[in-house]
C-alpha cells in the first residue's frame, strides 16, 4: 500500500524524535491481514 511514486515533498523533523520504520513488505502484509492495522493507519488522524 505504500506509494510507489517518488516523494515530491520535504519532511523535516521539528523535534528530536525516535521514529519507527516498518518495512514495506511488512506494512503491506499487515494491511492485508490485520483489521486493527488498517484502522490504525488509515482512518485516524490521516493528514
Amino acid at each position: 500500500m505504500l506509494a510507489f511514486e517518488d516523494c515530491a515533498v520535504d519532511g523535516i523533523a521539528e523535534t528530536d524524535m525516535t521514529a519507527v520504520f516498518i518495512l514495506r513488505v511488512t506494512s503491506d502484509d499487515l494491511v492485508a491481514r490485520s483489521r486493527v492495522f488498517r484502522e490504525f493507519v488509515f482512518p485516524a488522524g490521516v493528514t
Binding site: M1, A3, A8, A19, V41, V46
Partner: protein, 165 residues
C-alpha cells in the same frame, strides 16, 4: 570509479562514485519477506533509515547502542527490533494479538532522529511506513523559485496520506 562500478555490478548494490572495495554500499529494498529473511545473517552491515542533511544517529536493533552514520538514506535494510514496547505507545495497537505483535516488531526498525533532520526528500521512494511515537514532522515543498511552501504537519500517532496513498 571503475572499482565502484565493478563492485556495484557484481554485488547488485549501489555505491558512491568514488567507492572502494570493502566500503559500505546500499542494498536495494527487499521486494518480498522471503528475500528479506534470506538477507538475515549475510554478515553485512545494514542501516535502516532516513535521509538527512547532517550526520545523525541511528539505533539499529541488534547493535550495542547508537551508531554514528554518515549516510542515513533509506537502504531497505532488514535490521530488526525485538522490542515490542513501542507498539503500546500507539493507541489502537494495544489490543494486538501476541503473534501479530511479534511479526510487527520483527519487521520494523527504530531510528533516533534529531530536530532539523530531513526524514523525507523529493525523489525518494517510500520504502518504509514511518510512525512517530512522540514528535512532529513538517511537510513542505520547494517551489521552482526556491521558496519553501508549508503543507502540513504529521504529529505523533498520525500517518501521512502521501506515504500510504
Amino acid at each position: 570509479m571503475r572499482a565502484s562500478q565493478q563492485g556495484a555490478e557484481a554485488h547488485k548494490v549501489a555505491t558512491p562514485e568514488n567507492g572502494q572495495p570493502g566500503e559500505d554500499a546500499i542494498v536495494p529494498t527487499p521486494q518480498a519477506m522471503v528475500e528479506a529473511e534470506a538477507r538475515i545473517g549475510e554478515g553485512t552491515t545494514r542501516r535502516s533509515g532516513i535521509s538527512r542533511q547532517g550526520p545523525c544517529d541511528l539505533r539499529i536493533p541488534g547493535d550495542a547502542g547508537y551508531r554514528r552514520a554518515d549516510t542515513c538514506r533509506t537502504t531497505g535494510g532488514v535490521a530488526r527490533t525485538e522490542d515490542e514496547g513501542w507498539i503500546d505507545r500507539f493507541e489502537g495497537l494495544t489490543n494486538l494479538a501476541a503473534k501479530m505483535r511479534t511479526e510487527w516488531a520483527h519487521g520494523s526498525q527504530i531510528a533516533s532522529v534529531p530536530a532539523g533532520a530531513q526524514v523525507v526528500a523529493p525523489g525518494q521512494s517510500a520504502d518504509n511506513l514511518m510512525l512517530l511515537p512522540p514528535g512532529s514532522v513538517r511537510v513542505q515543498q520547494r517551489s521552482e523559485t526556491g521558496r519553501e511552501v508549508f503543507l502540513y504537519r504529521v504529529h505523533a500517532g498520525e500517518s501521512c496520506v502521501l506515504t500510504t496513498a
